[in-house]
C-alpha cells in the first residue's frame, strides 16, 4: 500500500515576480485633466507637490486605464471598483483612519480581463466639507482609489487630490481693540483693523503707548499656528511660529503710535479649521511681543480667523448692469459720464 502525500505550497508573495500569472498597472485619469487647476501642497515629509484642485460640490469624473503587464495572458479578478475617500489620519493612531466621505462605484463584476481596458467613472456633486490639511500630528486627505480585487493580492492605485474650502467676506468683521499692560509699568492700546482675514489680506493696525516705564529695545508681531489634536485626556497642542515681523526698533515714549502693516500673502498658512469632524483644530494667533534691553519679553496673544477667498470672478451681474458699468469707465470726469448716461436713457 502506497500513501500519496500531496504537498500544497501556497506562494504568498507577488506572483508577477516569478512571471507566473498576470499583473496589471492602473492609471487614473481625470476628465478635465487638461483644464483643471493644480494646487501645491506640502506632504508629510516636507516635499511640495502639485495636485488637482477641487471644491465642495464639484463632480469628480474620469477613467481608469488597466494595462496588462503580460499581453496575451488573462487577468482573473474578483471585481473592479473605484472609491472616492475623504479621511482624517492621526499620526499617533495610524491604524484608525476616520473616513468622513466614502463613495464607491463598481466598475466590473468578478471575471477576467483578456486585454487592457478602460473604465469610466463619475462621482457626481461630491460633498467635500473640509480643506485638505497636512500638519504636525494629523492629516486630512481626499483621494481616488481604484482597486482590482484578486484572491491573494489586490492591485490598487491611489490618486490624491487637494480640496480648498472657500468663504466670502464675512458680514460681521469687527476690529480688535484692547488696552493691556502691567500696572504702573507698561500700558499699551493695540488695534488690528479686523478679526477675520483672508489668506492674502493685510493686517493694518497700531500700537499706542500710554505708559512706558521699562526700557524697550524692540517690538514684533508673531503669527502663531496652533494645531490641536485629540479629545478629552489626550489633547496635543503643536505651536508653530509662522512669522516674526519686527514693527519697531528702539525705545518708544508715552504718546507714541507705531503703525502695523503685515501682508499675509507671503506666509504659508491655511484657513482657520475649528473642530474638524471633532478630531482636530487649526487656529491662528497674533502675538504682540515687546522685548526690553535685558531680553525680557512682554506679550499679548490674540486669535484671528483666517479664511480662503475664491479666485473666481463672480459672474452674477446681469448683462444690462455690465453694460451700464462700462459706460462710466471710459470718460474722464464722472459728471460728464452721468450726464451722458442720463441723456442716453431718456433718449
Amino acid at each position: 500500500m502506497s500513501t500519496h502525500t500531496f504537498l500544497s505550497v501556497t506562494i504568498h508573495h507577488n506572483m508577477s515576480f516569478f512571471s507566473f500569472g498576470q499583473s496589471a498597472e492602473i492609471d487614473v485619469v481625470l476628465t478635465d485633466a487638461e483644464t483643471r487647476k493644480k494646487a501645491e501642497h506640502k506632504t508629510e515629509d516636507g516635499k511640495k507637490d502639485k495636485y488637482f484642485l477641487f471644491y465642495d460640490g464639484e463632480t469628480v469624473s474620469g477613467k481608469i486605464n488597466i494595462t496588462l503587464k503580460n499581453p496575451g495572458k488573462r487577468l482573473e479578478h474578483q471585481g473592479i471598483k473605484i472609491e472616492f475617500v475623504g479621511q482624517i489620519e492621526l499620526y499617533y493612531d495610524r491604524g484608525n483612519h476616520h473616513e468622513f466621505v466614502s463613495l464607491v462605484k463598481d466598475l466590473a463584476r468578478p471575471g477576467e480581463l483578456t486585454q487592457s481596458q478602460t473604465f469610466d467613472f463619475e462621482f457626481t456633486h461630491v460633498e467635500k466639507p473640509y480643506e485638505t490639511y497636512t500638519g504636525q500630528n494629523v492629516k486630512l486627505r481626499y483621494f481616488l482609489r481604484a482597486t482590482v480585487s484578486r484572491r491573494l493580492n489586490d492591485i490598487s492605485k491611489e490618486m490624491d487630490i487637494v480640496v480648498h474650502t472657500l468663504s466670502t467676506y464675512p458680514e460681521l468683521n469687527s476690529s480688535i481693540k484692547m488696552e493691556v499692560g502691567i500696572e504702573d509699568c507698561l500700558h499699551i492700546e493695540f488695534e488690528y483693523n479686523k478679526s477675520k482675514y483672508h489668506l492674502k489680506d493685510v493686517i493694518v493696525g497700531k500700537i499706542y503707548f500710554l505708559l512706558v516705564r521699562i526700557k524697550i529695545k524692540h517690538m514684533e508681531i508673531d503669527i502663531i499656528k496652533r494645531e490641536t489634536t485629540g479629545t478629552g485626556p489626550s489633547v496635543y497642542h503643536e505651536n508653530d511660529t509662522i512669522a516674526k515681523y519686527e514693527i519697531m526698533d528702539g525705545a518708544p515714549v508715552r504718546g507714541e503710535s507705531i503703525p502695523i502693516r503685515l501682508f499675509l500673502a507671503g506666509y504659508e498658512m491655511t484657513p482657520t479649521m475649528r473642530d474638524i469632524n471633532k478630531k482636530f483644530s487649526v487656529r491662528y494667533y497674533l502675538n504682540l511681543v515687546l522685548i526690553d534691553e535685558e531680553e525680557r519679553r512682554y506679550f499679548k496673544q490674540q486669535e484671528i480667523t483666517l479664511w480662503r477667498k475664491g479666485d473666481v470672478v463672480r459672474k452674477s451681474m446681469s448683462s444690462q448692469a455690465t453694460i451700464g458699468a462700462q459706460r462710466f469707465e471710459g470718460s474722464a470726469s464722472s459728471e460728464s459720464a452721468l450726464e451722458k448716461a442720463a441723456r442716453e436713457d431718456s433718449g
Binding site: 504702573d184 493694518v204 516705564r213 525705545a251 515714549v253 504718546g255 503710535s257
Partner: protein, 167 residues
C-alpha cells in the same frame, strides 16, 4: 469708493503725540553704579564693601537718588530672597571665589585688585538687570537692599505694589 480687489492698507487713526511726551524725559530712567571698593578690617576678618548708587525716575522707588554700602554676601542674600519669593529667573552673580580664600596663595586672594574689579563689574551688571525687572521691583527686599542704610535680615518679606492710595 475703494476697489475691493486692492487691500485697504491705510493707517488707522492715531491721536497726534503731545510734544511734551515726545521731547520730555523718558519715564524709564534707572541707573545703578557699583563703585569705590573699600576693604575693611584686618587679617582674616577683612571684607570688601562697594558703594551702590541708584538714580531713577520710576515712581515705585521712594528715593530718586540713593547711596548705600554693600558687600558680596548682601548681594547673595538678595539673590536668595528673590529666588525664594518671586517667580523671576534671577541673573547670575559673579563667582564666590572659594579657591581664592584658601591659605598659602601667592597673591592677595580675594583682595587682589584685579579680582575686586572683576567682581565689581559683575555686581553692577547683576543689580542693574535685577532692578529693571518689573516683578523684582515689587519685592520689599530689593527696595531695602537699594535704599535702606542697612539690611535687616529679620525683616518680613513681602510685596510693595498695590498699596492703598494715600499711603
Amino acid at each position: 469708493m475703494s476697489d475691493p480687489t486692492v487691500a485697504d492698507t491705510r493707517r488707522l487713526n492715531s491721536k497726534p503725540q503731545d510734544l511734551t511726551d515726545a521731547y520730555g524725559p523718558p519715564s524709564n530712567f534707572l541707573e545703578i553704579d557699583v563703585y569705590d571698593p573699600q576693604t575693611i578690617g584686618v587679617g582674616r576678618n577683612r571684607f570688601t564693601t562697594y558703594e551702590v548708587r541708584m538714580r531713577t525716575n520710576l515712581p515705585i522707588f521712594k528715593l530718586k537718588d540713593s547711596v548705600v554700602r554693600r558687600r558680596y554676601s548682601d548681594f547673595e542674600w538678595l539673590k536668595n530672597e528673590l529666588e525664594r519669593d518671586s517667580k523671576i529667573v534671577v541673573p547670575p552673580l559673579p563667582g564666590k571665589a572659594l579657591k581664592r580664600q584658601l591659605p598659602f596663595r601667592g597673591d592677595e586672594g580675594i583682595f587682589e585688585e584685579s579680582f575686586i574689579e572683576e567682581r565689581r563689574v559683575g555686581l553692577e551688571q547683576f543689580i542693574n538687570r535685577l532692578a529693571g525687572h518689573p516683578l523684582a521691583q515689587n519685592e520689599r527686599c530689593l527696595h531695602m537692599f537699594l535704599q535702606d542704610e542697612s539690611i535687616d535680615r529679620n525683616y518680613i518679606p513681602g510685596k510693595v505694589r498695590n498699596l492703598p492710595k494715600g499711603t
